[in-house]
């Protein structure tokens, strides 16, 4: 059993993909999963009740975040609905530390801000940070890993030694150090999460590429005179991407947790931002004072969102990799 114990970064690492049986038949130009394969995968995903529930929760939370307050782009209101009863940043809408009531379902915090509005609005930060950071990490990691695996030689050595070095740093510790150096703020936070996140995808796709380039259809494409760039982009990467997709889905949860942890430590977004993690940074002091609602509701939002992401990720894996028994992880849950 080959092992890369550091793969996964606390998430589920998937092995055993490759689709030997399914994808080796197509030699007409592209070897992406066929329509029928996709339909079968979607069918399997749809039958997974837990994954369906997760997807519903994510969609609801995303909608609540979008419609929490009006959205304005360049002075034009593109989304006028305001589900949140108060401005999440407005302090003194009620006396400080009011317990939950009809007017303030989740109570108010130390500055007299409406916690319900802040939790609804806070989804904007967590959801967008999760999606953007993971997407950008894919944009960096997938090409680097794919090229490393395909080209080999000193290119491979250079990229993978850098990956090895970065892997020595625990995810959150490195992210904290980067935020400490480059400062706080939305894009700096995203940048730090991307800088530590891309290595996982690079490693994963490199391994897959190494096994895919040996396949007959790659040799066939080469024999037909296809260039390296075309072979890599059209034949190799599409067939190596499935485990990366699963990993990326699950990683949205990890990234949201990390961003919230940074917020809790006061190192993420600017203090006072209505981000779920930052809202908990008052922490123990409010608990000892008996103001449990300030802690319970934002944390519950993080928990629900991350749980849903993991349910969907599990569903995606089972759908893409039907050989695995449901509930069984042919994975390495490394860290």
């Amino acid at each position: 059993m080959s092992r890369n114990p550091l793969d996964g970064r606390g998430r589920l690492r998937v092995r055993g993909f490759g689709g030997d049986a399914d994808s080796a038949t197509d030699d007409t130009g592209t070897t992406t999963a066929t329509t029928a394969q996709r339909a079968r995968a979607w069918d399997r995903f749809r039958r997974d009740r837990a994954a369906r529930a997760g997807l519903v929760i994510i969609v609801v939370m995303a909608l609540l975040a979008v419609f929490a307050r009006p959205v304005e782009i360049g002075g034009v209101v593109v989304q006028p609905i305001a589900l949140a009863p108060y401005d999440p940043a407005a302090s003194g809408v009620a006396p400080a530390y009011r317990p939950p009531s009809l007017a303030h379902p989740f109570g108010t915090d130390w500055a007299g801000r409406d916690v319900f509005s802040r939790v609804l609005y806070g989804g904007r930060y967590s959801l967008s940070i999760g999606v953007i950071a993971v997407s950008l990490a894919l944009v960096v990691g997938v090409p680097l890993g794919a090229v490393a695996g395909y080209v080999g030689g000193w290119v491979d050595e250079t990229i993978m030694r850098l990956v090895d070095v970065l892997y020595a740093f625990p995810f959150l510790v490195l992210a904290i150090a980067l935020v400490a150096v480059f400062g706080q703020g939305f894009w700096k936070l995203v940048g730090a999460l991307v800088a530590v996140g891309w290595i996982g995808y690079a490693r994963l796709i490199r391994g897959e590429v190494l096994s895919v380039v040996e396949r007959d259809y790659v040799l066939a494409a080469r024999a037909l005179g296809a260039g390296d760039r075309r072979i890599l982009a059209r034949h190799v990467v599409p067939n190596a991407i499935a485990p990366v997709v699963v990993q990326a889905t699950l990683n949205v949860g990890t990234v949201v947790l990390s961003a919230a942890a940074l917020g809790f430590l006061g190192l993420g977004l600017q203090p006072g931002t209505a981000e779920w993690g930052s809202m908990l940074s008052a922490g123990r002091d409010t608990l000892v004072g008996g103001e449990w609602w300030v802690t319970v509701f934002p944390g519950l939002a993080i928990f629900l969102f991350v749980l849903s992401i993991n349910l969907v990720g599990d569903g995606v894996r089972d759908a893409l990799d039907p050989d695995t028994d449901s509930g069984t992880y042919r994975t390495r849950e490394a860290r």
Binding site: R3, P5, L6, G10, L12, R161, L162, D164, V165, Y167, A168, F169, P170, F171, L172, V173, L174, I176, A177, L178, V179, A180, V181, F182, G253, L257, A260, A261, F264, L265, G266, L267, G277, L280, G283, R284, L287, V288, G290, W292, T295, V296, G299, L300, I302, F303, V306, L307, I309, N310, L311, D314, D325, G327, T328, Y329, T331, E333, A334, R335
Partner: protein, 315 residues
């Protein structure tokens, strides 16, 4: 290749990684806006003479590669310089905090193993039952729970409402009963996610082993099921579990940074966060370097243990 040669080769391979880690840790601080002297002075006014003497003291007039080598030679002698916020040495601050984190981490790790492995075995043996499904749900929830939130909830229930544990760390020696009693909640908080991961990992490893021929052979010769599981299946499953266990170091460090803040536990993680807020970068550098080195060493040990436990591994 003999095991001894493998160990030697694998150990030598970590040296360039450690060198890269040190270069990155050194370089990171060089990216800070402003000059290092500003950070030493905490951005206060200073005479040009003082600035010049500080520049000389920190070798700032040397070329960058020489600065790195000078720093590295200090670091190899465990000299991380002086703290910015006080006159104490960084090494002393770390030596003071390290045991606290080690104790917290070890207890959490023990909890994770003692909860995770038996649960995983039971889930695999009773596959598809309510017990299995239940453990899956709990494990998924354990992975999804933010550790700081879990810690705060535990404080709320056990510290504030039931009032059975103190909510601030006692003033007592590290291994005194009061300290250990206080550590119960932080250790549970830190160990939960690891326990969930161990559960899932053990379950899949045991499931894989249960399909093997030797299990059928052991049953066929009339061994009681208990013996088959404990003596044969578990032993073979634990090879992968134990080696991954070593790699939990990085995961636990990440958790400790947060959990120590939640419980005001005076460990390395709290030192790191405080140093960042105080812009005390020699401390940040030292802690990050120490942690990364620990991870590299843990990986090395994991690979060696793996090779030692499984003679079939090709190396």
């Amino acid at each position: 290749m003999s095991l001894r040669r493998y160990v030697l080769r694998r150990t030598l391979l970590t040296l360039p990684i450690l060198l890269g880690v040190s270069a990155l840790t050194f370089g990171l601080v060089k990216l800070l806006p402003g000059t290092p002297v500003d950070y030493v002075l905490q951005f206060q006014e200073a005479t040009p003479e003082l600035r010049a003497s500080l520049r000389a003291q920190y070798h700032l007039d040397e070329p960058i590669w020489r600065q790195y080598l000078l720093w590295l030679s200090d670091v190899l002698r465990l000299d991380f310089g002086e703290r910015v916020v006080s006159d104490r040495s960084v090494s002393a601050a770390i030596a003071e905090r390290l045991p606290e984190t080690l104790v917290l981490g070890s207890i959490s790790f023990l909890i994770a193993l003692l909860v995770g492995i038996p649960t995983g075995v039971v889930a695999a043996v009773r596959r598809g039952t309510l017990l299995d499904e239940g453990s899956r749900v709990v494990a998924l929830a354990g992975i999804a729970t933010p550790n700081f939130w879990l810690g705060l909830l535990l404080i709320l229930v056990f510290g504030v409402h039931l009032n059975v544990v103190p909510v601030i760390p006692p003033v007592a020696p590290l291994l005194a009963p009061e300290s250990l009693a206080f550590l119960v909640l932080p250790a549970i908080t830190l160990g939960t996610a690891s326990a969930a991961l161990f559960t899932r990992l053990t379950r899949s490893a045991v499931t894989e082993q249960l399909r093997k021929e030797y299990v059928r052979a052991a049953r066929a010769k009339g061994l009681p099921e208990r013996t088959v599981i404990v003596k044969h299946v578990l032993r073979n499953s634990l090879i992968s579990v134990v080696t991954v266990a070593a790699v939990q170091v990085a995961f636990l460090v990440d958790g400790a940074v947060v959990v120590e803040r939640v419980f005001s536990w005076p460990g390395l993680g709290r030192l790191l966060v405080r140093a960042i807020l105080q812009r005390d970068f020699p401390v940040v550098q030292a802690v990050v370097l120490l942690v990364a080195t620990a991870v590299v060493v843990a990986n090395l040990l994991a690979d060696i243990v793996y090779a030692w436990l499984d003679p079939r591994i090709t190396y």
